[in-house]
């Protein structure tokens, strides 16, 4: 079994907890500009874009803290992936 992130963009509430947590985990400071996931808000439209960068190493911290279910961890059948840890 492998654990993967599923993404449900329609559930995003635009809180940026994912980006804040990612930046602390990977860069040791709160700097959403450097996070591997960023939430881009169109405030007037009430919409959010979830932008993942290829710098993401799959540590899944973002999905563990996402409060809305937009990012969620699921077990999927298949080869167990190489474990990746955050810094």
């Amino acid at each position: 079994m492998a654990t993967e992130i599923i993404v449900r963009p329609w559930q995003c509430i635009g809180c940026s907890t994912c980006a804040l947590t990612c930046s602390l985990a990977h860069h040791g400071v709160f700097d959403t500009g450097r996070a591997n996931i960023r939430i881009c808000r169109d405030e007037f439209a009430g919409t959010f874009e979830l932008r993942f960068s290829s710098t993401c190493n799959g540590c899944k911290q973002c999905a563990r803290v996402c409060p809305s279910g937009a990012l969620q961890l699921v077990d999927v059948p298949g080869k167990k992936e190489r474990e990746v840890s955050s810094r």
């Binding site: 329609w10 930046s23 602390l24 709160f30 009430g46 409060p67």
Partner: protein, 644 residues
């Protein structure tokens, strides 16, 4: 330079008269005593603003300060506080707002902005990291807040620019003008938008690409995880995530404590079917959060049919729904969503605006003002006319010019109207009816620094299950399982004084002091007061988060004392600026007129019992029980005696 953790570090000090822009670093002792947010603001304003300063004059000082926990992943840490001498009350004016403005200022490198003087022509302040400029805003003056925010994002080519803006109401010095925080949030109450307008300051736009450092990362992460766990475990969490603040619309109607038709009735016909939380899902299917918030109490609203088809707005928030839906009897949520948009664009505090419109409707009903005075009829529930009246207020046209002065001053100008105005110290209280429900909240209407305020004296374990209370004035009821009060983060000795587990009574004067100190601590650290947080995140978690983040170690006792210190400092400001003991009292209507309809029909307030409860509250605070003045002993205990 020593590394700074948690705080951004610098304060911007801008004089709009001279265009001088300075920065300075507050000392660590100041941070420890006053923390941030309302604490910082209260110290600056108490020390620097002379008694007699004109709230709309250049000598007033407008202070923005961001909570120390903001810019991190502490759940709900999004809030910043803006303060000045209030044009509505002449006392400490202050307001708190979330969204993304505060975090952006910290990422730009500043914890706060102190704004002095008056610009000769309309300007806006632009902060982009180290680059701070005062820029002509003649092309923005006259535009509403939404247009201003969109225009600045377009001309600065940055959709992520966070903009605090006033609308026409602030420009025209409406005494309850708000400062809009982005299009949909606001530092709303006490007329701070008029202070900005009086300085010819249209907006403060901020963009930051820096970061916030953490002193002790592992410890901080553990505290954040504990805070998140506590909030999720709250029985309020699920209902609040689903309904937001609309949650209370059912109990208030059931209890009969709505401000129906300017506090004439406690119930509203058709309320449940047309204006309650049962209707939310018709217009909204998702929530919108402030930065770092897991609750997302705000609803994204889209109206798909009817006369307001096409309207999109955040939020279906209970304050305008009760203010306009009950107070003015406007009988549908789409119309109230339109009013929300109008108030956001014009830059009006929706609580005070609802009270002003309700006052006009009652005076029209009674014949005190006529269609000739208004220019149009204004029966209860009018929609188009309410939109028109809000525009008239914001632009000071016709009778709008009188109402723009706030309901207290308006009633001075309109003969025979003084009994119809529900204000305390010049700020309208317009949510629930104290004649029908005596609680920490309702005592808070008269103990609050800001005046008739419902947001800063909130029992963290407020009873929304039932309203029956055989011993009002002295106590309210605790309606939760006993485990909840055992788990409440409050010193055990104080719990024994406040809670009686046998009768389930809660001592109102002592709970009011605790609630105010706790909310003061929240407003001094950037946390949000929504019930799932207020009842689970207390001084212990906040002290732990603050210490691990900033490296400035404080105990839970230090933390709650900082909240108490800030409250006392605001009270000293009020006394210095002319507050009299008699101001802390209810409007005449609540003593002299009974509730007109509903389960609370016939009830009035008892003056003697109110005075006794207030005196007990003053004793709980260590203040003079007759005058409410902080005693020298209390000030020494709080280490505020160094200010004299």
């Amino acid at each position: 330079m020593t590394a700074i953790f948690g705080y951004a570090g610098k304060i911007l000090d801008i004089d709009l008269s001279t265009h001088s822009i300075k920065t300075y670093l507050p000392d660590g002792e100041s941070n420890r005593k006053y923390l941030s947010g309302v604490g910082f603001n209260a110290k600056v304003l108490y020390e620097e603003l002379p008694a007699g300063a004109d709230p709309l004059g250049p000598e007033n000082i407008l202070v923005f300060h961001v909570g120390a926990l903001v810019g991190t992943n502490v759940p709900t840490a999004s809030r910043s506080e803006v303060s000045a001498k209030s044009p509505a009350t002449g006392l400490f004016g202050t307001a708190n707002s979330g969204n993304y403005w505060g975090s952006e200022l910290k990422y730009a490198g500043y914890d706060g902005i102190v704004i002095r003087g008056r610009a000769a022509h309309p300007v806006y302040i632009l902060v982009t990291n180290d680059n701070v400029r005062i820029i002509p805003a003649g092309h923005l003056w006259g535009r509403d807040a939404w247009e201003t925010i969109a225009a600045l994002r377009a001309e600065l080519r940055d959709r992520d620019m966070q903009v605090a803006s006033i609308g026409p109401a602030g420009e025209n010095l409406v005494r309850f003008a708000s400062i809009e925080n982005g299009p949909f949030d606001a530092w709303a109450r006490t007329g701070l938008g008029a202070v900005m307008g009086s300085k010819n300051l249209k907006a403060v736009a901020v963009r930051g690409t820096g970061h916030v450092r953490v002193a002790r990362r592992r410890e901080f992460m553990e505290k954040v995880a504990a805070t998140r766990k506590a909030i999720y475990a709250s029985p309020f969490y699920g209902p609040f995530e689903r309904f937001g603040t609309m949650l209370v619309t059912l109990p208030y109607q059931e209890f009969g404590i709505l401000p129906g038709r300017n506090f004439q009735t406690g119930i509203v016909d058709g309320w449940v079917e047309s204006r309650s939380r049962k209707q939310v899902s018709r217009y909204s299917n998702r929530g919108v959060a402030c930065i770092a918030c897991p609750i997302a109490c705000a609803h994204w609203v889209e109206i798909k049919d009817g006369p307001y088809k096409g309207l999109k707005v955040k939020d279906m928030e209970v304050t305008p729904v009760i203010g306009f839906g009950a107070g003015c009897d406007i009988n549908n949520l789409p119309a109230i969503a339109r009013i929300t948009e109008i108030c956001q664009r014009l830059g009006l505090d929706m609580v005070s605006a609802a009270s002003a419109v309700a006052l006009a409707m009652e005076l029209y009903e009674k014949g005190t003002i006529s269609e000739g005075d208004l220019g149009y009829p204004l029966p209860w529930g009018s929609e188009e006319q309410t939109f028109k009246l809000l525009h008239d207020i914001a632009h000071r046209q016709g009778i709008g010019d009188t109402l723009a002065e706030g309901t207290r001053r308006a009633s001075d100008r309109i003969t025979g109207s003084d009994k119809n105005v529900p204000h305390v110290k010049g700020l309208e209280c317009f949510l629930i009816d104290p004649r029908g429900r005596w609680s920490t909240w309702t005592l808070g209407y008269i103990t609050n620094i800001r005046g008739g305020d419902h947001l800063r004296t909130r029992n963290p374990v407020e009873n929304l299950r039932y309203n029956d209370n055989p011993t009002p004035y002295r106590t309210e009821k605790f309606a939760f399982p006993e485990a909840m009060y055992h788990n409440l983060d409050m010193p055990e000795a104080l719990k024994k004084e406040i809670f009686d587990p046998t009768t389930r009574d809660v001592d109102i004067p002592k709970m009011s002091k605790w609630s105010e100190d706790l909310i003061s601590l929240y407003n001094a650290t950037g946390m949000c007061i929504r019930p799932p947080v207020l009842h689970t995140v207390g001084p212990t978690l906040i002290a732990g988060l603050y210490s691990a983040l900033t490296g400035i170690d404080i105990t839970p006792e230090d933390a709650i004392q900082a909240g108490e210190r800030t409250w006392n400092l605001q009270k000293l400001f009020n006394i210095k600026h002319g507050e009299k003991p008699a101001y802390s009292d209810y409007p005449a209507r609540f003593y002299e007129e009974p509730v007109g309809a509903g389960p609370q029909k016939g009830r009035k307030l008892d003056r003697t019992k109110v005075r006794e409860t207030l005196a007990d509250y003053y004793r709980a605070r260590g203040w003079d029980p007759q005058t409410g003045k902080p005693t020298p002993q209390k000030l020494a205990e709080l280490k505020l005696d160094d200010l004299f």
